[in-house]
């Protein structure tokens, strides 16, 4: 059953439309992540689901009821905010109990629910503290706890981890994932961090300029991006793009300075302005005379476990290749590169990807 349905949802500020008709269905218990660069409308969309932002057009349906004009508190949602939004003048217990107290819930029920949520998140020792006496991670945990106490049909997260430092972010990410497994509640999560999206989501919604670019599981987006934007946005370091021209159709292309390359795509574009994409981790390194293309290593970034080689292929941007941590290549060295056909992506001028002949085995 679909828990949340967005039906041609639009948002206008004055005359400018910022969300241009979004359609989406979120299933019960699903963890959906909205991801996109800043200004893509992902937070606006979330706030419209929450009822904090008026809906200019279309329907927001939760359960099976149209919620466009219903007050946020009556939508059966709970929201976790980026800045935690804890009431500074109330202690942790007071913060967590606030919504239920306001709703006139029975004291015993409140106490029971607060204690249960505190137990789930390990907050019991902190219940009497004020927000300013807590660390960032603890505050975020209280904010989540407050949402749990409300026992919502849908959890909404608005960039909840972006105020935390890197180490804590990883830890909280795991905690949220565990929470989802435990509660099995529908969650909608907004982030600009594609790693967060990949690790948390059942399905990712990639947004750009108020439009959905693609919806799919993390691996679908990674292996079968529908366009160049999604291909470049998902994955780190980002996918390399090379200008390519078709050589007689059927997926055979050349990039400047390369031998002909066969890309296993359906259809047979025979035009000159194509773009060939390949992820740094899929490029093979071979001796110069054996490569599809050769180039000079400009910089070798050694991270220990892996090495990123920035290779000059004559294009504007350096071409990044992921190699072993113990890779011997040095800057100035010429190397050959090999492109495994199944890892290649081909994009038309408008950015649309040509579909692969075969789906990736993990997605099928």
């Amino acid at each position: 059953m679909a828990q949340l349905v967005l039906n041609d949802v639009r948002k206008r500020f004055g005359k400018t439309e910022v969300i241009h008709g979004v359609d989406l269905e979120v299933k019960d218990g699903e963890f959906v992540v909205f991801v996109g660069p800043s200004g893509c409308g992902k937070s606006t969309l979330l706030r419209m689901i929450a009822g904090l932002e008026e809906v200019s057009g279309g329907d927001v349906i939760i359960g099976d009821e149209r919620m466009n004009e219903i007050a946020p508190s009556d939508r059966g949602i709970a929201m976790v905010f980026q800045s935690y939004a804890l009431y500074p003048h109330k202690d942790v217990y007071g913060n967590m109990a606030f919504a239920l107290r306001h709703a006139g819930e029975d004291k015993k029920v409140i106490d029971e629910r607060v204690r249960k949520a505190a137990d789930i998140l390990g907050l019991e020792p902190l219940l009497k503290r004020r927000p300013k006496e807590l660390s960032g991670g603890q505050r975020q945990r209280v904010a989540i706890g407050r949402a749990i106490v409300r026992d919502p049909a849908i959890f909404l997260f608005d960039e909840p981890l972006s105020n935390l430092d890197a180490a804590l972010r990883v830890q909280m990410r795991v905690e949220i994932l565990r929470l989802h497994q435990q509660l099995k509640t529908t969650m909608v999560y907004v982030t600009h961090d594609q790693v967060e999206a990949m690790t948390l989501a059942d399905r990712i919604v990639v947004l750009r300029d108020g439009r959905i670019e693609q919806v799919g599981t993390p691996l679908e987006l990674y292996h079968h991006p529908q366009n160049q934007f999604v291909a470049g946005f998902i994955g780190s370091p980002k996918m390399n793009f090379l200008p390519a021209r078709s050589e007689g159709g059927s997926g055979r292309v050349t990039v400047p300075g390369s031998d002909p390359i066969d890309v296993p795509v359906k259809g047979s574009p025979d035009v000159s302005d194509l773009t060939l994409g390949i992820r740094p981790e899929h490029v093979g390194i071979v001796p110069p005379d054996q490569g599809t293309i050769t180039g000079e290593v400009m910089v070798a970034e050694r991270l220990g476990g892996e090495t990123y080689l920035h290779v000059d292929l004559g294009a504007d941007d350096p071409f990044v290749v992921k190699a072993d941590g113990s890779a011997a290549q040095k800057s100035g060295e010429r190397i050959g590169l090999r492109f495994p056909p199944e890892a290649l992506h081909l994009f038309a001028k408008d950015g649309a990807a040509f579909e692969h002949r075969e789906r990736h085995s993990l997605i099928a």
Binding site: G51, G63, D64, E65, I70, A71, R150, A153
Partner: protein, 322 residues
């Protein structure tokens, strides 16, 4: 959890009343009281004054539209014009003295305080004390101190060998306005000092460190780095000084010198002129229409100053992100 899920689906037994979003009634409730009081007791009277300045009273108590007749009288009728131009001129002198004494002094004190000397907080607090006092108090305190009767000022000056310089400044036509201006400077220097001090504090330390690394001395840092960055604040101080001269200056002169701006109108300013015109004084009968005209002239003069500031000064003062 299930209860609320079902409630969201509309099947809950205890379905609560659903509140709707939107509506603007709360916005009206939040705004109306402030907007009403402000409009009735501040904006309406101002507009009414502007309106009244276009009328003249009849002997039967009614009023008649005379266009710019009152302004014509104020600016060109010999009896009125001499008072008006004198008051305006005195106001400008008052402004000038504040600009060359009060604001540089405020800048100096702020600059010294920004060096974070020991007891800086105490200095700052004490220098601000006169600003808090009622002008009634300030006026009389200085009247007493400068009074030849009591002789505190004379005594102090003789103590440092300057006794011959002493004169009853407040009573002399040549020095009364300057003396009043300096008393006002004494009272209000705390405001530019505080504003400039705050602006100096907001200059980031890294910038000053960078200047130091670049080899600038303390003075050079002040002149070449800090001062350009606080120019907008100096602009605000200037416009506040200008507006203040047409308002708070009245209180001081009224309490020290009275409403006639003695001696011989040498301390008569727009505020006292307006008060006198409106309420009358001794031989003169109060005239609300001329009073409104004087008030309206003050309004236009302030408007001209503010416009010059907004268009001519503020635009040229680049505000830097700090």
């Amino acid at each position: 959890m299930t209860e609320i899920v079902s409630e969201a689906s509309g099947h809950s037994k205890t379905k609560r009343r659903r509140r709707k979003t939107g509506g603007i009634s709360h916005i009206v409730v939040f705004l109306a009281p402030a907007v009403l009081i402000y409009s009735i007791f501040s904006i309406y009277p101002l507009i009414e004054s502007l309106r009244l300045s276009l009328f003249d009273g009849q002997s039967d108590g009614s009023s008649v539209w005379i266009g710019l007749g009152n302004y014509d009288r104020l600016l060109f009728d010999a009896n009125w014009a001499v008072r008006f131009w004198n008051a305006l001129w005195n106001n400008l002198i008052l402004f000038f003295i504040h600009m060359i004494v009060q604001n540089p002094l405020g800048l100096l004190l702020a600059a010294l305080l920004s060096l974070a000397p020991r007891f800086g907080g105490t200095y700052r607090t004490l220098i601000f004390v006169p600003t808090l006092l009622s002008v009634v108090i300030v006026g009389f305190v200085w009247e007493l101190i400068l009074s030849p009767l009591w002789g505190v000022a004379e005594g102090l000056m003789s103590g440092v060998g300057l006794g011959w310089l002493y004169a009853p400044w407040l009573g002399l036509e040549s020095s009364a306005l300057t003396a009043v201006s300096l008393i006002s400077v004494w009272q209000y220097v705390g405001i530019p000092m505080m504003l400039i001090y705050a602006a100096l504090l907001s200059v980031p330390d890294e910038l000053l460190d960078a200047a130091r690394v670049d080899g600038l001395s303390g003075w050079a840092i002040f002149w070449k780095v800090k001062l350009p960055l606080i120019l907008p604040t100096l602009g605000i101080v200037a416009i506040l000084t200008y507006i203040g001269n047409f308002t708070s200056a009245f209180d001081l002169i009224y309490s020290i010198q009275g409403v006639l701006g003695p001696p011989d109108y040498s301390t008569d300013i727009m505020g006292t002129l307006m008060f006198r015109t409106f309420f009358g004084q001794q031989t003169q009968i109060g005239d609300i229409y001329m009073g409104a005209t004087v008030a309206s002239m003050m309004f236009f003069i302030i408007l001209i100053g503010v416009t010059i500031y907004l268009v001519g000064v503020q635009r040229r003062l680049t505000r830097y992100e700090m």
